[in-house]
Amino acid sequence: MSRRVLVTGADTFWGGRMVQALEQDPSMDVILGMGAHAPSVPFERAEFVRADQTYSILNRIVKATQVDTILHTFMITNSTTVPKRAMHEINVIGTMNLLAAAGTAGSSVRHIVVKSSTLVYGSAASDPNTFHEDTPRTSPVKNGVERALVEAESLVRDFSEDNPATRVTVLRFANVLGTHLTTPISRNLSGPLCPSIFGFDPMLQFVEEDDVVRALVHVTRGSIPGLYNVAGDGRLPWSEVAGICGTRLVPLSPFSPLKIRPVARLFDLPEELADLLRYGRGVDTRRFAATGFTYNATSAGAVRTFIRALRLRRQSGREPTSYTYEHDVEQFFRHSPSVMGTHEP
């Protein structure tokens, strides 16, 4: 069965990787990448559409292209990448518009995959050791990124209740470490000194970068609906993560260290890390494993992949020129009658 897939945030790290991964799958007939900026990685056969971040033209795109699947990767889970206001716009308003477009009468969309984060569980002393998909948070929502994700997920939940014919998948990913991705955690682990909160050594769970892509491909290809936690097996204390990465922990005062701006600046300490570095977070991943997904890396394996890639970057020169998107060139390769390539339908 051939599929027509639309990927949001194709200009971002995850969107770009998802488009590339789907391009490898011959059953994905049409792949559309949507984004506000030019994509940062080359696409082979996918088409790129520039659209604003709140998807006001999504309705028209869906109608015109008759896509059957929307892969919503453009959810901000790292508050350092965008300003607070923009994060709400992207996660909540963006998701709302996307669902509205997908839910219009006569819509061709049959499957929506949303990339969310285990941030929705929060992190608090009162937490259970392991969060199942149905376990509610035990603490009030404290920061912008969690609030935006919780709101976005509730929109998705409402949508799936109102549109039983559309399959809806929500994947909640644990903190990601891997070869390429840069997050506050990876930046902290990259330096010679790494922040910790004095007297706390939380248990953390990670998922490897490639496993994130594989998990999204897995649910997209198999049209698997549902809500799932995605995280590598095992958990390890923050001190051990730092140990594996060969960085030295700097204990910060446990009395609201992140309010002291210079300290938060010195390290990369967004507010969503404040509680995570105290209480950690663990999730149950059996439900996702039951859909037939196997991980390449455990939590510790993700840390190892990350540090091995970092060591290589440290010890080798600059990577060859990165890709620059040229709209006209890409259009030429896809649509010019002179092109004899294999991409022609």
Partner: protein, 293 residues
Amino acid sequence: MVSGRPVVGEKDRSTAIVPIRVPAEHADEAEDPRLSDVDEWGRSERTRALTRAIYEPVYSKWFRAEWEGLERIPTEGGALLVANHAGAIPSDAPVIMHGIEKELGRPVYGLADYFFRTIPVVGTLWARAGGVSARPANAYRLLKEQHQLALVFPEGTKGPSKSFTDRYQLRRFGRGGFVEIAMRAGVPVIPIAVIGSEEAMPVLMRVPTLSRALGLPYFPITANLLAFGPLGMLTPFPAKFKLRVLDPVHFDVPADQDRYSKSRIMEESEQIRSLLQEAVYDMLRDRRSVWFG
């Protein structure tokens, strides 16, 4: 070694950027990146072994702990250990955990209020030594899914905070949550009666204003504080500890039910409380000296 870097001159750059790896690539990596043996609960057997080495003299020389009916604790499978709780900073928890780990060689996870997790250093050490916050979901996971021993004090802070004049009078057993968990997990409850804990750190009075100001569940003035000054926080009196393991209580209800009869739970909980209370009285009847047993 597997290199993560794209081979120079590789034609298909996009696959180099998104390696959809076949699982085999990872399978041959033999070395385990883990450096410590901390498990998902934050417990570390190495830390425990070190703690046991340090605590052993306290256990066998200071408290001279003596067990009765230790064979009633199963050597495998989950079981919920339930004990009476006393003394401002209760020594019963470390004594029970130490004793069982030493005698039976199997770990015991101590369930306690999550308040511990919020205290810097203490919370971490507590977790490394086998402390787990007393959430029903945690107990269920330990007992049912991981077949471990979990220790719980159903009196909660009401036990240690009671004053010396109320010694060995067991407080209310909460709302019987421990019974419900044992039912749901399909494991027996094993009551353990402890004496000696009350005299190890007697609570003379409580200062509610201080506890409120410090955000603590209670702030006791102990006899130890009067005797040793601030060091009294850490120094229990050398009362003789005696522990009696009672017969396991099995509930013949199916595990994993959505809900269990509340009255049945309260009844069982009260039953276990009175078993423990009676055992404590019985042991006190036989005790000639607080210090020598």
